[in-house]
Symmetry: C2
Subunit: 210 residues, 2 copies
Amino acid sequence: MSDQAAAALWPDRPADAQGERTETARRLLLAAVDSFARRGYHATTTRDIATAAGMSPAALYIHYPSKAALLSEISRAGHQATLDLVLAAAGAPGGPVERMRRLVEDFTSWHARGHTVGRIVNHELHALPEEEFEVVAELRRQIEEAVLALIRQGVASGAFDVQDIRTAARAVTSLGIDVSRWYTERSSETPEELGRRYGVLVLRMLGSTA
Amino acid sequence: MSDQAAAALWPDRPADAQGERTETARRLLLAAVDSFARRGYHATTTRDIATAAGMSPAALYIHYPSKAALLSEISRAGHQATLDLVLAAAGAPGGPVERMRRLVEDFTSWHARGHTVGRIVNHELHALPEEEFEVVAELRRQIEEAVLALIRQGVASGAFDVQDIRTAARAVTSLGIDVSRWYTERSSETPEELGRRYGVLVLRMLGSTA
């Protein structure tokens, strides 16, 4: 299990008036991640999730009206976390080469560390309720746009040499996302090593000579 | 639906003594592909598949003892088809550059045309019965090995310049496989165009100057 990454999405909060409610919601989200990953979303029941969190189904419903509500929160959090790291890399000091290297390193290592969450948020999109799907689709567009804009910057400055910017951007995000399909804790590289290697491959793909 | 690609896995046979049995099995396989793609494997029942094929569940059981047997046959056929095209490209006339270009073009366009089957065979691996999983894992190893061997050939001949051969091979297959996650009939490129563009990107990634 790589729930280290899932746990990082919903960090422990200091105890306050909301403390207990937050902690219960957090336990349910982590139990839902684990259950969806094991059985797939469709075959998971709210009872499975409640049991994994050590609660009754009734206690679950106090926090989430349905398993779709849990999937929605997991999907939003996962997409927001990856958008945040993409925007941080795209706005970092340095030129397009340094920014793209950081973007690929961070995006790749996130999908390796968070392969359990990554699989759920990328493979269960069709199961989201329509309004939630729209929210997540907008986050995905922003990720794609940030990658596109960075490639355009690099082409404009002469750092990159790319014939088809849209296909190149698609390949960059696709390589990172697919890591969550195949990466396991038994993989030979650490998430950080994989990120560095993918950074080198992507810069070559973009025609960088740096 | 891109069941053009699924249909190609189980071509119509000329009518003979076995003709009717083969045609029924084929209808069931195509109905299973469609049902698994819509609902996910776990949430699909044998009744769903039988209904989609216009049969009774009893008629289904004459051909397949379980939905796992259908998944197994779909998964074997999909993996065998991709292994066949990988081996054909790796053994084609020309040097490593021409062979790799053809490999990426064919592997990519197969996963675009066959995105429905591609998603099932790549995302439902964990649902296979253990012995079937071993068969499919062996086909996957052969695909990975063929890509590795071709990269090694190119490095030995000086056509490629790759630091980490295993990671590069992983990136090549990952890019192609992930096409089945995101490609739809609404995508702006045809499967063949996408294949050509990915061929260019991969050759660059491998340090080819051709």
